[in-house]
């Protein structure tokens, strides 16, 4: 295979064949390891070593997930006055380093925003995407924690207040193309953050479209604020 390789200029997202021909992987016995191997950002994960900077942010070899999100679970509120409405419990939960594309998980996260927890679990059970299984597990864990640790009395009395996807650290891999060209494959990881709030879900999660009455009122407001240029001051 090495003999048949052609020299060619590296093309965007592909690397030169001569550099690759000395690469060794567990699944490719034709290639051999050499000192002048690929540039590190294109090497497969098995050949990349973690530097001290990387190690600091990945304790135990696991990349660090959201740090600020779980801190919200530690806030303590002052006792409420009698005239104040009862403050709803808020539970912040996350799962980090999910082997799923954040762009794809975003659709699932958006889908359940503003739903009650029961409805969200129902929807995710039958959602055709693969990531819905992970999100469902996360929701069930969060619901369990809410009852055990955060003082929520009824596990169904929760709704999805926030449902956010964050990008995790990507692992880079390699694939061959025709005509001695190579391309990078990104293996994507993501973090999923969810905030459960006690109470029934709101009628509108996003601002609802203006009704005809609202539009009329806006028009009248502007209409009544018209001024006459160079006119008498009232």
């Amino acid at each position: 295979m090495a003999a048949a390789v052609k020299l060619c200029k590296p093309i965007f997202r592909c690397i030169g064949s001569r550099q690759v021909s000395h690469l060794n992987t567990s699944h490719s016995k034709q290639l051999l390891l050499s000192d002048s191997a690929l540039p590190s950002h294109l090497l497969p994960a098995a050949l990349v070593h973690t530097s001290s900077v990387v190690a600091a942010r990945s304790p135990g070899g696991i990349p660090e997930g959201p740090v600020k999100w779980p801190r919200f679970n530690k806030v303590v509120w002052k006792p409420q006055e009698e005239n104040e409405p009862r403050r709803p419990a808020e539970i912040f939960y996350h799962r980090s380093n999910i082997k799923y594309s954040p762009q794809k998980l975003w659709y699932i996260a958006s889908w359940i925003r503003g739903l009650s927890i029961d409805e969200a679990i129902k929807q995710l059970t039958f959602h055709p995407k693969v990531g819905s299984r992970v999100v469902k597990e996360v929701l069930l864990e969060a619901q369990d924690l809410a009852v055990k640790e955060h003082g929520v009395e009824f596990k169904s009395n929760l709704w999805i207040a926030e449902s956010i996807v964050g990008k995790g650290s990507y692992v880079k891999g390699l694939r061959r193309h025709a005509r001695a060209r190579y391309a990078q494959i990104t293996y994507k990881y993501c973090h999923y953050k969810v905030k459960l709030q006690e109470g029934p879900p709101p009628e509108h999660y996003y601002t609802p479209p203006p009704t005809h009455w609202d539009m009329m009122e806006d028009y009248l407001k502007d209409y009544r604020h018209r001024t006459v240029q160079f006119g008498l001051k009232s």
Partner: protein
């Protein structure tokens, strides 16, 4: 109603990637009406296969496979039990860590209450004239036996020690301890601000609390209170505090002596416990309660800097249950442990994903 796809909010989903059962929700940000996508078979995946399946295996070989890290498994591995961890290390050929690390330790309190005082049954509830109460009063009047020995031992180390004075001091200490605990819970208030660094404030209160309470009692008092707020008030003392029990013990060497004193207090108190969100969990700020308490105080006698501190509390079995907390629970499913040692799951199998499946507790508390 068929609207052109490019005008939809998710217009960057191209038509051939639409998967069967998607239905856009009723409230649409710009249109506010029901839009239904055309249905496809659920397994229909357009544009994902090469048109010529003949060379698919060669095409697959083009991808250089790598072992992806399974972060979920790695995280689970950190939570292994002792046996599992040992087995794993043995498998990997890693030697276990050194079992001991020499460090100087200062033991300023004992691990428990030695020969705990057994309060007479019905104390604080039965009338003064009942026979049982009279008998008990007779018993407590004579502080003979070990208690007398303990008093002598304590006086060896502390000449000015007097039992009657101690009872009053102990009550004052008890009030201070509870007030400091209240301050400790208040030190955690951040009122929704997760960025506040309260560690210095909390440490200051904890230092004060450690001076009033032994190391053994500190976690008993504070662990369950983390995230909660207390409002406690001592209204009045219904009976003068009484020393009921004295003991002294030694640890490791005979010269290292600790003294323990049990004090009986009958008082009127107010207690209200609030949860993390400032909602009442237990008790009341307006309704006082009469409380009979047996509090144990300890002092490291052989330590010249030893101080009488709160060490524990004796809660007898005959004491009536305290008021129920202001919430309900679902009865937990417990695994039955058979004689053979195998666990069989409770007959009521409940799927956690199905809401409303679990039965609530029966009405009688």
């Amino acid at each position: 109603m068929a609207l052109p796809l490019r005008s939809l909010r998710f217009s960057h989903i191209s038509w051939n990637k639409c998967l069967g059962t998607h239905v856009l929700r009723k409230e649409h940000a710009s249109f506010g009406m029901v839009i239904q996508m055309q249905h496809y078979r659920q397994d229909f995946k357009a544009g994902q296969k090469h048109y010529n399946p003949k060379y698919r295996r060669l095409r697959a070989k083009k991808v250089i496979k790598i072992d992806l890290p399974d972060y979920q498994q790695m995280k689970a591995d950190t939570n292994l039990s002792m046996e599992e961890m040992r087995a794993k290390m043995k498998k990997e050929g890693v030697s276990p860590p050194t079992p001991y690390q020499e460090r100087p330790l200062l033991i300023t309190c004992t691990g428990g209450v030695f020969e705990p005082y057994v309060p007479p049954e019905g104390d604080g509830r039965k009338s003064l004239l009942s026979t049982a109460r009279l008998k008990d009063q007779y018993k407590t009047l004579e502080m003979k036996g070990k208690s007398a020995l303990a008093i002598r031992k304590i006086k060896q180390y502390d000449e000015d020690f007097k039992v009657k004075d101690f009872a009053l001091r102990a009550q004052e200490l008890f009030i201070t301890v509870n007030e400091t605990l209240q301050n400790w819970t208040e030190a955690h208030w951040s009122n929704g601000n997760s960025k506040l660094d309260l560690s210095a404030k909390i440490k200051k209160v904890e230092d004060d609390l450690h001076d009033l309470v032994t190391e053994r009692a500190f976690p008993d008092m504070t662990y369950d209170m983390k995230g909660k707020t207390i409002r406690w008030k001592w209204l009045e003392s219904l009976e003068p505090p009484k020393v009921t029990h004295l003991r002294e013990t030694d640890m490791i060497s005979k010269e290292n002596i600790y003294g323990q004193i049990t004090v009986r207090m009958h008082s009127k108190q107010l207690l209200a416990v609030y949860d993390r969100f400032g909602r009442l969990m237990y008790g009341s700020e307006t309704l006082p309660k009469d409380v009979v308490e047996y509090v144990v105080f300890e002092k490291h006698l052989s330590n010249q800097y030893g101080v009488w501190r709160l060490h524990g509390k004796i809660i007898p079995e005959w004491m009536p249950a305290r008021g129920a907390i202001l919430r309900t629970f679902v009865r937990p499913l417990l695994e039955e442990v058979t004689e053979a040692g195998e666990k069989s799951v409770d007959t009521e199998v409940v799927d956690a994903s199905k809401p409303g499946d679990q039965k609530p507790l029966p009405a009688a508390a």
